[in-house]
């Protein structure tokens, strides 16, 4: 609990804390019997700019309050951390309190989660209340990359269409959320050949999806696509086992057009989706899966 690195500071702090309380008590006792010279008009001769100090004793109940605060302070220091490395009788810490409160809250919502966790994802996705919970989790955690409407943006996949890098079945989505994904395309320019070859292959790739391309270059680049086919498949349909994108549709995660494809071939791309198993409980991931799956399966 404590962050002290030497034995000295805890002693230093405890001494000052307890010494301060002792000093206050001592002052209280000292002031209960003190010699003062008093004038007949009940002043004691102290004067500042014509303002005289009068003898106005403190009411006794105030002294009582003072003593109560001293007792309270000592009791607090006994029960709670306050004296250096001493943890207090209760062993209270802010973290512990937080954990207790989280546990209490989890206990309250556990039956709700358990009810949904027992159903298949496809059924959960049909329940509006469950989708709302999933939506809230999504907005608070996933929307930062995938967008509030889950349609993604450059580099972040669209989750609301039917095009999936790693597969759109509930099991695969759950796997993706739980363990994260690491999409990796190595730089391929050397394997493809010279600059002309790269340009030709790029045009061939464009031709797969019927995008605007130079058909002469595309024909020339067709043979070189073999290098790419290892991952993207002979027809360029991609491979959901390793997350290789489908090149025959018109969805371009990292930018469309010839220049963007040439850049990819030269540089490759590493794209990561973080794993969420540390942050979410399995039940939460279940609900989130249902929400994401439901986006493209109405």
């Amino acid at each position: 609990m404590n962050d002290f690195v030497s034995g000295f500071w805890p002693i230093w702090i405890s001494t000052i804390t307890l010494g301060g309380i002792a000093f206050c008590v001592g002052l209280l006792i000292f002031a209960s019997r003190v010699k003062v010279t008093l004038d007949s008009d009940n002043t004691n001769g102290h004067e500042w700019d014509g303002i005289k100090e009068m003898n106005n004793p403190l009411p006794m109940w105030w002294v009582g309050l003072f003593i109560i605060t001293v007792i309270f302070g000592l009791a607090y220091l006994y029960l709670f951390p306050g004296l250096g490395t001493y943890d207090g009788k209760f062993g209270w810490t802010g973290v512990k309190q937080y954990e207790v409160e989280v546990a209490k809250n989890n206990e309250k919502i556990a039956p709700l989660y358990a009810k949904y966790a027992a159903m298949p994802v496809e059924d959960v996705a049909k329940i509006p209340e469950a989708r709302d919970i999933g939506k809230r989790i999504f907005l608070n955690n996933c929307a930062a990359c995938h967008g509030s409407d889950a349609k993604g943006s450059r580099g972040f996949p669209n989750l609301s269409d039917t095009d999936w890098l790693y597969g759109g079945s509930p099991e695969r989505i759950k796997e993706t959320i739980t363990g994260g994904r690491m999409g990796m395309m190595p730089p391929m320019a050397a394997a493809v050949g010279n600059e002309e070859d790269v340009k030709n292959v790029a045009n061939y790739v464009l031709s797969l999806s019927g995008s605007i391309h130079d058909s002469g270059r595309a024909n020339a680049g067709k043979d070189k696509f073999v290098v790419c086919a290892a991952c993207h498949g002979p027809e360029g349909k991609g491979n959901q086992m390793i997350g290789a994108p489908n090149l025959t549709d018109n969805i371009w995660l990292h930018g469309q057009g010839e220049a963007a494809i040439i850049k990819r071939i030269h540089e490759g791309k590493t794209n990561q989706m973080p794993a969420w198993q540390e942050k979410f409980s399995p039940e939460q991931i279940h609900l989130l899966t249902a929400y994401v799956w439901g986006l493209s399966n109405k």
Binding site: A31, S32, R33, V34, K35, V36, T37, L38, D39, S40, D41, G45, N55, P57, L58, P59, M60, W61, W62, V63, K135, R136, L139, A143, A144, C145, G147, S148, D149, A150, K151, G152, S153, F156, N250, L295, K298
Partner: protein, 481 residues
């Protein structure tokens, strides 16, 4: 404050003496004498007014709920037809400013009006003193009772008083908690000893505080605890009405027979009967001039006027008057003319502006809430049909107790299309009471029509039934490439 008398005391100094004294002392108990009269009646009017409100309001109903309820768990304050949320904190700030300014204004005009007539400490002390007087008798009787040995009479009266005090304190505690927990559920649950731990604690705590403060602490609260007594002098000036003893007329004081006349033997009008001291709830002698202990309750005015009446002298030896008025022997009209001095006018102006501003603000307060958050991660998208798209998260909250429907209009760019995510335009419909909803909206603008950069756009959300509208500003970003 006139200090001629103080100087008179200081001139006759006795040689200094060294004494051993304690810096603490048990305060003497004050036995305030019963008093009646004009100002006392006004105080009782204020006691009734404030306490009828305090004890009565929790029992009022409004649309099937408690009219005034501070629901801490739901984070909503119900005040009759209005509902306040944490975001409405500004109105609480307004209320506090209005309260503070009212205090400044009343203090500038007539000193400690608040203390003397409406402060809870005064009001409850008045009620507790009334109970005490009914059970134990007036000043002298109470002193005798306290000095006497414990006998049946003393035990009976003392326990009766405790019973009355504790009962009243507990009921005050129940009422206080009734502002936070619905009264009509609280009282039965308390009677069956089934109330929650916190409720029970607060009933007892607030009850004990009432009992202790009004029964025992009384003037000690004003003298030692209350900060207002310490800074009130900053709000006084020479034209502030305060309770003042007319020294010129009263001194030299002395007792005389009623036949002797007002100014016999060179005496002033004060007959030194000390009733003004006996009735004072803080135990001071007003004839020493204005003191910080004086709460301006006017009890000594009523008492002295009574005595002057009996003696056949003119009233007003102790009266509400201003320092300037006293020194210049002004008439009441001359004093009232000074009411229109800058200090009062400035306080009044600011106070009126604040009250009007608060009223207008609350009247026009929309009963729903809208925040527009543009998706920062998704700067802009190109859609397949040549549009640029920005995504917005509308956080919408219905703050009423009924279901509501809304409609959205977006303005700011010549051609823009609004799409709801999931193509679900029903997202703005049928919000349940107090429901919060995230509505995701995509705005699309034709690529060819806008220049690159950020464009201001406005989201106008209208509540269909009441036609109340909130207009929120946001931006639409068009990338440059």
């Amino acid at each position: 404050m006139s200090d001629t008398k103080q100087n008179a005391v200081n001139k006759t100094t006795i040689p200094e003496q060294e004494v051993v004294l304690s810096l603490y002392r048990s305060e003497d108990k004050i036995y305030a004498r019963h008093v009646s009269g004009f100002f006392t009646n006004w105080r009782w009017v204020m006691v009734w007014a404030t306490q009828l409100f305090f004890y009565g309001v929790p029992w009022l109903q409004w649309d099937g709920r408690q009219a005034m309820l501070f629901d801490l768990e739901g984070m909503r304050f119900y005040v009759f037809g209005l509902i306040f949320h944490p975001q409405d904190l500004i109105y609480l700030a307004f209320l506090l400013i209005v309260s503070a300014l009212s205090l400044f204004l009343f203090t500038a005009i007539a000193g400690r009006l608040w203390c003397g007539y409406t402060c809870p400490q005064t009001v409850y002390t008045e009620i507790y003193m009334w109970m005490e007087q009914k059970i134990e008798g007036d000043r002298i009787a109470r002193m005798r009772l306290d000095d006497s040995k414990w006998n049946l009479n003393k035990i009976t009266r003392k326990s009766l008083k405790q019973f009355a005090w504790i009962g009243f304190g507990l009921w005050t505690g129940v009422t206080f908690v009734g502002y936070f927990t619905p009264m009509r559920e609280l009282v039965p649950s308390l009677l069956q000893f089934q109330a929650g731990g916190w409720e029970t604690f607060w009933v007892c705590f607030y009850g004990f505080a009432t009992y202790g403060n009004a029964g025992y602490m009384r003037e000690q609260v004003c003298k030692y605890m209350c900060p207002y007594a310490r800074f009130q002098s900053a709000m006084f000036d020479g034209d502030t009405m305060t309770v003042t003893y007319d020294e010129t007329r009263g001194e030299p004081r002395g007792s005389r027979s009623k036949k002797a006349g007002e100014n016999a033997n060179g005496l002033g009008s004060c007959i030194d009967c000390s009733i003004c001291v006996q009735v004072c709830p803080t135990g001071i002698d007003i004839r020493n001039g204005l003191q910080y202990e004086c709460i301006g309750c006017g009890a000594c005015i009523d008492a002295c006027d009574d005595v002057m009446d009996k003696m056949g002298y003119a009233k007003g030896l102790i009266k509400y008057t201003t320092q300037n008025g006293m020194e210049s022997r002004w008439s009441r009209q001359q004093m009232f003319a000074r009411l229109l001095r800058p200090r009062v006018l400035i306080y009044t102006t600011i106070l009126l502006i604040m009250i009007v501003g608060m009223g207008v603000g609350i009247y026009y307060k929309p009963d729903f809430r809208l925040d527009v958050l543009r998706d920062r991660s998704v700067m802009a998208r190109y859609t397949n049909d040549g549009n640029i798209e920005n995504v917005y998260n509308l956080k919408l909250e219905n703050e009423t107790e009924v279901a509501r429907d809304y409609e959205l209009k977006v303005t700011g760019l010549p051609t823009l299309a609004v799409h709801f995510s999931d193509n679900n335009s029903q997202q703005l419909k049928a919000l349940k009471p107090f429901e919060k909803r995230n509505v995701i909206v995509e705005i699309q603008v034709p690529e060819a029509e806008t220049r690159a950069g950020s464009h201001k756009i406005f989201f106008e959300l209208t509540e269909i039934e009441t036609k109340e509208t909130i207009k929120e500003k946001s931006v639409f970003i068009v990338p440059s490439n």
